[in-house]
Symmetry: C2
């Protein structure tokens, strides 16, 4: 098994779930409406044993929920939970980075657009609770309320 | 070696570079100002052989640039390129997802804040070229100018 990060960092913990070659492709398909094992397999090309493992972990971690949709006999569907749907900004950010940095302007294989206007998504803004947009160079990491040192009173 | 995605999808191609347990922790440290092999090793806990492999790939793919900073003898520093720094929205999105979905309100080990105001980053907005914010439910995937079918004139 792959080593599990225990470091108190949300990125490290996220990577325990989505930090591999395939998981975000499964999630991509789920955002596109795919819900069945055989369809995830066909559309991503992932090996079946790996898909079984990844879906089990995603269900365990609350990213997908599994339900029996068999009318005669058992057949499962996998749907994104609220936590799974919350991965959308991660997907969009990765999509845009790949287009801009691995394909380049005019070579994008897939675009993300607003279906109401047809306009492509061009950027992402990071906002504070007051709605202010934060410049990349002004972002800093700070210990949060669950930081280990704070929790033990150090 | 891990299988390389060839599918014409920016997410799949991005995963060829950052789709593993460790790479985004190396990138996280680089955003924090770390540039030396020994420091990446110490701060992430990644095995040295894996770190060597990942840094070589990141340099090859244009995410990091490697420079000799040795005064007497060879010593390398690894810095994010413009393409590497463009990973910031991916890092922020993953950080926020982890905090909200794996730790939860009041348990966040690390927060991202605007250093000019101290306010934590709370959300990310997806914007079109006209500056309009796109609702998650309105995002659609569309073939881009580099889509295989379009390129071959089908």
């Amino acid at each position: 098994m792959t080593q599990r990060h225990t470091e108190a960092c949300p990125i490290a913990h996220s990577l325990n779930i989505i930090g591999d070659r395939w998981t975000l492709l499964i999630v991509r398909e789920a955002f596109g409406g795919i819900s069945r094992f055989s369809d995830f397999h066909k559309r991503t090309g992932i090996a079946k044993n790996l898909l079984t493992d990844r879906l089990a972990l995603l269900v365990q971690e609350g990213v997908f929920e599994k339900s029996d949709i068999g009318e005669r006999g058992v057949r499962y569907a996998y749907h994104l939970t609220e936590s799974g749907r919350a991965l959308l900004p991660v997907m969009v950010a990765l999509h845009m980075w790949g287009n801009e940095n691995l394909f380049g302007d005019g070579e994008e294989p897939v675009l993300l657009v607003d279906r109401t206007t047809g306009e492509p998504i061009q950027s992402m803004a990071m906002l504070t609770s007051s709605g202010a947009s934060v410049l990349p160079e002004n972002i800093r990491r700070r210990p949060g309320p669950g930081a280990p040192a704070l929790k033990t009173g150090d």
